[in-house]
Symmetry: C2
Subunit: 169 residues, 2 copies
DNA sequence: CAGCATACGGAGCTAACATTCCGTTTGTCA
DNA sequence: TGACAAACGGAATGTTAGCTCCGTATGCTG
């Protein structure tokens, strides 16, 4: 299963079932005994990542400074996704993502992020109209620059740019 | 040929040759008499769009205010791409785009944008380290939010956010 | 060890698509 | 009108990749 992860990370959804099986050192049949379809396998990979993603947010919420906490969520989430082009795609399209079994992870994440945003706004450190959808857009944009410039750290510069834009004043 | 455009706009590179031919009211054979491969057809569509894109930039360069000129290029370029998911993808990946026949259009665009950026920096209106690559990243990010939230105008809000981030001070 | 169950492997099936090829239609010139 | 050329259409082909299925191996129980 972790082999699927490696290949989806490298090739995204283009990764082929044959290759995934070979990489895992098993036959195709065995892969299909664990996951009914390719999409199910992909979904599971994404679900695991989203879980990690929510954990990152949870830890960042503990940061005392409200602005720093919000920025840490974004920066660390982006870092967690570096090098995993499969999940990068999933993250960009997370709005249209309706895959079953992921709602739970998405909800958890939404709640944490919403809390952190509220706190930053209450502290007057972030534009008062900033909301979760904006957060999602920023992550989408950042991930896109990462996805289309693989191996480059330029996305950091871009995220900093955007973070400056969301600060109050 | 303009039929290819309509379908690539709607479906992106997923558009099927059969459909494109049917939409154009011709047989598949005829399509292949004009374009040797699907990629050639796609490239031509992208080339035409890039041309328009450069023209948009050219017109925006005439704006007197340096900052306004730069922002106009971005806003208008994004507007020009709304609803054309095929070109949106091409634009996001324009860094890796090595398709023959497009270099000319890319060079033209790069030159204009570089001039406009220099002017805005010289006027002290934009961060002095802002460069063409940053421009490309911003367009990539903006296009991504547009692509993954089709039909929504939220990308404007996002672009504004980013534009705020690139201003000096 | 025999008998049964569970899990495996991977050849082959099938569907989707780009692309080719040839019989037919349309247009032109004398 | 007849002969030739140019352009057309779309059935047939080749290929790719997800998925199925069945013969085999492994492990467990009495």
């Amino acid at each position: 299963m972790s082999s699927g992860r490696v290949l989806f990370a490298r090739d995204g959804p283009e990764a082929q079932m044959d290759e995934i099986a070979a990489h895992a050192g098993v036959g195709i049949g065995t892969v299909y005994r664990h996951f009914p379809t390719k999409e199910a396998l992909l979904t599971e990979m994404v679900r695991l990542r989203f879980q990690e993603f929510a954990e990152v947010a949870e830890r960042a919420e503990e940061i005392a400074d409200p602005l720093e906490a919000l920025e840490a969520i974004m920066r660390r989430s982006a870092e967690a996704v570096e090098g995993d082009s499969g999940f990068q795609l999933a993250m960009m399209g997370s709005n249209e993502l309706e895959w079953e079994g992921i709602e739970e992870q998405k909800t958890a994440l939404t709640e944490i992020v919403t809390r952190v945003i509220s706190r930053a706004i209450a502290a007057g450190m972030v534009r008062s109209d900033f909301n979760f959808d904006d957060f999602a857009m920023v992550m989408c944009g950042t991930t896109a620059t990462m996805y289309f410039k693989p191996g480059s750290a330029d996305w950091r510069r871009y995220l900093d740019l955007t973070l400056k834009g969301i600060r109050a004043g």
